[in-house]
């Protein structure tokens, strides 16, 4: 009885709050765990990366200026939107990876909870990592962590949604803006998450998501002179040296992570120390 032809989604990039196709016109094929064709996501180009960095740079002052309370609420809003669309994410994870429903449900639940966890850090990280320094003289002296600027990241291949959330949340919660490359084999979660972002009051350009090949895009990220930091958690360690050598040109801060903790937020923050005399 159900002869209806379903409407399939075109998976595009997410740059500056919009969903453009790659300017290169290149795509690649994503198949399900059973080998059935699912989608032709974009194979992002160097120009796409450049456009994303331009958007991220333009968005950074505004996002950085948002109060910690505001940023926390926006991250929490991401969790709300993801919760509301959990069925879609569960389906996509099952289709692409072939895991059980219980496992997919667990990944989506953890992703939502992780967003809530990071949302709460927005107005706490400064008090934990900042300091009043008792200098030996009549000066008021304090150190505060600040956002670093524009960060690029390679999200882990798996788990494709939770790995993406663990990459995105700690980077943006402090006021950084981001260009992230999604899991190559399982990019659907990331591109659907872009729709969550687009409906969560995250300003355009704060999170930009590309799909494509790590080996192609990671070196472009490493050599880009307007990227301040790079999260290479999603790269295999054999590629780290080449990326670090290239990133040294503007002394990018390059890290990979094994856990989620406040250190992950602080890795992409800079400590600023301010002195002022005390006197009449």
């Amino acid at each position: 009885m159900n002869n209806r032809i379903d409407v399939k989604k075109t998976y595009k990039l997410f740059i500056n709050g919009a969903f453009p196709r790659t300017e290169s016109g290149r795509t690649y094929e994503v198949k399900s765990a059973k080998g059935v064709f699912i989608a032709n996501p974009c194979l992002a180009s160097r120009k796409d990366l450049k456009d994303a960095v331009v958007a991220a740079r333009a968005a950074q002052p505004g996002w950085n200026k948002a109060t910690a309370y505001n940023k926390g609420q926006i991250l929490y809003r991401l969790a709300e939107m993801l919760e509301g669309r959990r069925a879609q994410f569960v389906d996509e994870i099952i289709t692409v990876t072939g895991v059980t429903k219980a496992k997919a449900e667990q990944e989506v639940s953890e992703s939502i909870d992780r967003l809530v966890w990071y949302a709460g850090w927005s107005d706490k990280i400064s008090s934990l990592s900042g300091a009043l320094n008792p200098v030996a003289g009549p000066y008021y002296n304090f150190t505060i962590p600040e956002s670093m600027g524009v960060i690029a990241a390679i999200a882990p291949e798996t788990p494709s949604l939770l790995g993406l959330i663990d990459t995105v949340a700690p980077i943006i919660v402090s006021g950084n803006t981001l260009v992230v490359l999604a899991s190559t084999k399982a990019p659907l979660s990331a591109m659907s998450f872009a729709e969550v972002i687009a409906t969560s009051d995250v300003p355009a350009g704060v999170i930009n998501i590309l799909t494509g090949k790590k080996d192609e895009i990671a070196p472009w990220m490493a050599s880009h002179m307007d990227i301040d930091g790079l999260d290479i958690t999603g790269l295999t360690t054999k590629n780290h040296a080449e990326i670090r050598i290239s990133g040294a040109e503007n002394l990018k801060r390059i890290f990979s992570f094994k856990s989620h903790d406040p250190g992950r937020i602080l890795a992409f923050m800079e400590a600023k120390t301010v002195w002022h005399p005390i006197g009449l």
């Binding site: 320094n133 600027g149 040294a248 002394l251 990979s256 856990s259 600023k272 002195w275």
Partner: protein
């Protein structure tokens, strides 16, 4: 009554009798001084007198130093409680205080900086760094850097010539407090106070091999950076060399901290206390002959007060006493080396060629040694080399602005991000500006202040990591959350 126009200062030379410099030095490895194979002369840059001959460490010496440091780490230092490690650091701090005059005189002879600065800044701060970090040694688990932090092991440390003893203290004190052992290389032209520090380690009965000092040039530094037995590299110096180090360790598990160049903006708003600001400008750029990575080398003046400030600045600069670093009244001493003087001359010539206007303080420079008169360039644009490149000398580039946002834009228009200054009597404006400036240290209504409790280090191409304070400790611990 007629008031004399000016009084002249009588010479007030510090005695050099307190120091005894050997004709030749070796390296300090495993608690002992060992003879070097090749040597090069080290001179007093104020007189060009050869002070001594310094050993040039090659592969054999660096190997021996790393081996000694590893042995000390494995057998002694990593097994010792933080409480006991701390007591050694307290001892070192106390001995440095006891021998402060000796260190100050030796530093001034070898470096060319005024005795007033080595006596009142370099040496007391160096001792303070050891005293501060001594207290951390048995409190690391409370530093808020994670519950499973560990020392790296052997730290290779390469320091510059502008604050020889102080940079040694910035490196050695936190490394030891965190439980690492070190192989330190002082700068080629300023090794003497590091070698005197080796004597302090002996007097403090620091276990052999915990601190090893090898002297030499960039080739020695490269041997340390590339040595497979070293777990952590800490470097202070130029951004160019910092990038070379970052690339050299890219395929290794070595952890790195870099304290590199700067081109700090010193912003003066029209509502600043101008006389105080002028003092701050002078301190910002002429402290230590401008051989300061965080020097306020770009003066950014609000247009409405530019003429007035420049006039006051010139009057003040004419009173700067340039000359014999051993004279207690000297403000600006000798340029550290002929090489550095050549670089300053080259960059200032580019300032002339690109159309900026040069003005130098009218002062008589000694005939021997390396000297450069305190100099300002006006009419500087952001594209000029003297506005972009670190001169590392007593040379100030002056730019102007109309709106606060323009001041910030100009200040941040640099690949560096080490420090900045802002002068205003309005609290909200000060806080706004300090927020906008992309720099690791911001001095508001002051400049060039340092303290062991106060983290120091740069954004962007000014380096990786911080030194000093709780933040600085994390550079010498692993397991702080990222790698």
């Amino acid at each position: 009554m007629e008031i004399p126009v000016s009084f002249d200062y009588a010479p007030a030379p510090e005695s050099r009798a307190i120091v005894s410099i050997k004709p030749k030095y070796g390296h300090f490895i495993a608690g002992k001084f060992v003879a070097g194979s090749k040597h090069f002369p080290t001179i007093n840059p104020a007189t060009e007198e050869v002070l001594s001959h310094i050993a040039l460490a090659g592969k054999a010496e660096v190997d021996a130093a790393v081996k000694a440091a590893r042995k000390a780490y494995t057998t002694t230092w990593s097994k010792m409680s933080g409480k006991e490690r701390g007591k050694y650091l307290f001892r070192i701090a106390r001995i440095m205080q006891e021998r402060a005059r000796e260190f100050a005189v030796l530093e001034t002879l070898d470096n060319g900086k005024p005795i007033r600065e080595s006596r009142d800044v370099d040496v007391p701060l160096a001792a303070a760094h050891f005293f501060y970090h001594a207290g951390w040694a048995d409190k690391l688990e409370f530093a808020g850097l994670g519950t499973s932090t560990k020392p790296h092991g052997v730290a290779g440390q390469i320091i510059p010539w502008n604050f020889p003893l102080l940079m040694l203290a910035w490196k050695v004190a936190p490394a030891l407090a965190a439980g690492n052992t070190v192989v330190l290389k002082p700068a080629e032209s300023t090794s003497l106070t590091a070698l005197l520090f080796a004597e302090v380690c002996q007097q403090a009965e620091l276990p052999a091999g915990v601190v090893n000092i090898v002297t030499g040039d960039g080739s020695t530094g490269a041997l340390i950076v590339n040595h497979p037995g070293i777990d952590k590299i800490a470097f202070t110096g130029s951004t160019d060399v910092g990038k070379i180090i970052a690339r050299a360790v890219a395929s290794t598990p070595k952890s790195v901290t870099l304290e590199l160049g700067g081109k700090a903006a010193n912003i003066i708003f029209e509502d600043a206390a101008l006389d105080e600001a002028v003092e701050g400008i002078v301190n910002g750029i002429f402290f230590n002959q401008g051989h300061v990575c965080c020097a306020g080398s770009r003066l950014i003046l609000q247009e409405s007060i530019a003429d007035e400030v420049l006039e006051k600045l010139k009057v003040r600069m004419a009173k700067i006493r340039v000359g014999d670093p051993m004279d207690k009244n000297t403000d600006v001493g000798a340029i550290n080396s002929k090489e550095q003087l050549t670089k300053i001359i080259e960059l200032t010539a580019a300032g002339d060629a690109e159309g900026a206007q040069r003005w130098s303080a009218p002062c008589e420079l000694p005939t021997k040694g390396f000297w450069f008169a305190p100099t300002i360039f006006t009419g500087v644009t952001q594209a000029h080399r003297i506005a972009r490149e670190e001169i590392f000398g007593p040379v100030l580039s002056v730019l102007t602005f109309r709106t606060p946002q323009e001041a910030i834009d100009k200040a941040n228009n640099t690949p560096f991000g080490l420090s900045a200054g802002v002068w205003s009597e309005k609290g909200s404006r000060i806080l706004w500006a300090t927020q906008q400036l992309r720099a690791g240290v911001v001095w508001a209504n002051t400049f060039n202040k340092f303290d062991p409790t106060s983290p120091f280090g740069g954004y962007k191409e000014s380096g990786w990591g911080r030194e000093g304070g709780r933040h600085g400790l994390s550079a010498y611990l692993k397991g702080v959350g990222h790698e």
